[in-house]
Amino acid sequence: MPSLSRTLAFPLSFVLAIGACSSSGAASVAPTSSTVAVASPSAALAPNPTPPLTPVPAPAFPTTLTDDEGTAVTIPVAPQRIVSLTPASTEILFGLGAGSWVIAGTEADDYPPVADALPDVATYEAVDVEKIVGIEADLVIAGGNFFNPPEAIARLRELGIPVLVLYAPDIAGVLADVELIGDAIGLPDAAGEMTAAMQAGFDDVASATAGLDRPRTFYELDVSTGTIYTVADESFSAEMVSLAGGDPITTGSTTDYAIPLERLIVADPELILLGDAAYQVTAAQVKDRTGWDVMTAVRNDAIRPVNDIIITRPGPRLVEGLRELALAIHPDLVLPSAAPIPPLP
């Protein structure tokens, strides 16, 4: 259940926020152990996670895992014909070295480049159940929180195909999902390596931005329909902006992603990040918008494009996204060089 993951994740973001606010530098990198604890699936389900830092031994198949919606999913044999229904899980699978087992993906897959060539069984609107049955998938990894239609997920399960539904409400949730996929495909060690590397990458950014001023940051998701969409309270993207050393301007609700222009003007962003830059939105357009000229960011010309995909896609490249975000918020920031994630074979 999303709410459960969110409750568990709260201590992490709390610690990070405190750490980032304090000026004690390296001491702020506290969350490492607790995050790894949250990341192991068994701990993610326990009401009070204790940190079992020993890697989970490779489960012998059949194995039963609990997915992010609380469904117990039994995987009878080590999966060799995997279908990924979200671009993020495609990236995780390839990152774990299981790319050759992935037999189909989504229309939106674009990374790694070879994933683009996979047969598509999912679009933004629908999942092709018939095709998934036809290619004899033995594991389907789907997106929760309505990313993939719940009806299609239920249908696949009725037909006897194990479906693992993933939904990461925050960064800790992404790490937990990597571990969950690792367990589901029999590669828990690779997953442990990946999450450790990702955590190190997050920690690097967190400590580099720890003592800095935190500009009030408006992260623009979309304005094309006239409604202004930005990050919701306690959302994944708000956490990313905080970690990157910004003070996110949020919608004031945990579920509503729309922000009234009045609220945005009162919040007075010092920095505007264009997550919709890939859709030809430019700083010049922002300056021309009625009512926006009063904002500090517009007057100071602090409007910068960012690569929305790596910042919002809950996969292994999130570290890259966080680094890009940190550099967009603090252009003079010096980040330690990062180990490549995932360690692609």
Partner: protein
């Protein structure tokens, strides 16, 4: 003084060279049944996975006729044919026939050519029920239905019940009162739906999918849960064709024919609403079929409900079956789009061919 039967006969419009079939309703029905059979074979034969037609036929013979055929196909192929395509095409036919028979009944009852199965608030009621079901975080299964299907069914029936009860205490003529109450209640429910959609966040897409209508969720269990409701209620409507014919002539004429107008109207309204509710529960809101198929049938064979009701059922089933096949081949576009694209030009063509006065 013309008899009831003669009135119906003279009301039959001539439809150009289609006039040939108008006196041969049996031929028309037979053609419809053949079209349905072809649709059944096509519906099972085509899809996003290519399956050898020989395998398809062998699987069907093996599973449904009990023939002893050596298995040359993979279990996945059998699952696709038996568990995915069969219930889907059968559900499309069932829903098509349900909507068409309900539409014909509503048009006759309300003596309104623009009436369709959704006219008295059933659509808004079902949609609101489905939206609420999407927003409820619990996943329940009631009587083989999912929560969405269950609440859509209840919502549709609740809406029509409220409309009927409210319309009875009005000083207006019964039909006017019913239509206007239906419109008012429908608007209120639509506002509720808009509110639910506004609050739904990520679930919006699922509500939207329901509103567009689709057979993606068709399963054997849902089909079999809906089949008796639609079948029994449709047969009950067919058995009341005489009452419907009487009501078509107006309340006074019907009363002279010995029809208990209020009672028959209530029963037909209930039956048609039940059929509609069952159909929208499994398929979402699919427009056009219920409005246009009865008109096409009436233009071809005249207004007698004895012919219009069964032929509408066949026609509706065929239209929706072919529309779903095309929708699937076109990459899963909403089936309601296809029904309109297929049906509207054909309807216009038939309308232009109608020479003598045509009335519902």
């Amino acid at each position: 003084m013309t008899t009831h039967r003669e009135t119906l006969r003279t009301a039959r419009p001539r439809v150009g060279w289609f006039g040939g079939v108008r006196d041969r309703p049996i031929l028309l029905g037979g053609l419809g049944l053949v079209a349905l059979l072809v649709a059944l074979v096509m519906g099972v034969g085509v899809g996003s996975v290519a399956i050898d037609p020989a395998d398809t036929i062998a699987i069907l013979g093996h599973r449904f006729l009990g023939l002893d055929i050596p298995q040359t196909w993979s279990p996945a192929t059998e699952t696709i044919v038996v568990e995915l395509r069969m219930p889907r095409i059968l559900t499309a036919m069932l829903v098509g026939s349900a909507l068409a028979v309900a539409g014909a009944t509503f048009q006759g009852l309300l003596r309104n050519p623009l009436a369709d199965p959704y006219v008295l608030g059933t659509a808004s009621g079902a949609a609101l029920g489905a939206a609420i079901a999407v927003l409820i975080p619990v996943r329940l299964v009631i009587f083989q239905f999912g929560l969405i299907q269950g609440l859509a069914f209840i919502g549709a029936l609740a809406a029509i019940t409220v409309v009927y009860k409210l319309s009875r205490n009005s000083g207006l003529a019964p039909l006017t009162s019913l239509l206007l109450t239906g419109y008012a209640v429908g608007s209120l429910l639509a506002a509720g739906l808009a509110m639910a959609m506004y609050l739904s966040g990520a679930a919006l897409r699922q509500i939207f999918t329901y509103l567009l209508g689709s057979f993606d969720a068709a399963t054997w269990s849902r089909f079999l849960a809906t089949l008796p409701i639609i079948l029994l209620a449709s047969v009950a409507i067919l058995l009341r064709a005489r009452s419907l014919n009487g009501l078509l002539l107006g309340e006074q004429a019907a009363a002279h024919l010995g029809i208990d107008v209020k009672r028959e109207r209530r029963i037909l309204l209930a039956l048609a609403s039940l059929v509609t509710a069952a159909a929208v529960a499994i398929s979402g809101l699919i427009g056009f079929v219920g409005l246009v198929v009865p008109h096409v049938v009436r233009l071809l064979v005249g207004p007698s409900a004895r012919l219009v009701l069964p032929l509408s059922m066949i026609g509706g089933a065929a239209l929706l079956a072919y529309a779903d096949i095309i929708a699937r081949l076109a990459g899963g576009i909403p089936v309601g789009v296809v029904t309109a694209i297929l049906g509207a030009p054909f309807f216009l063509f038939i309308l232009r061919r109608a020479r003598t006065g045509y009335e519902v």
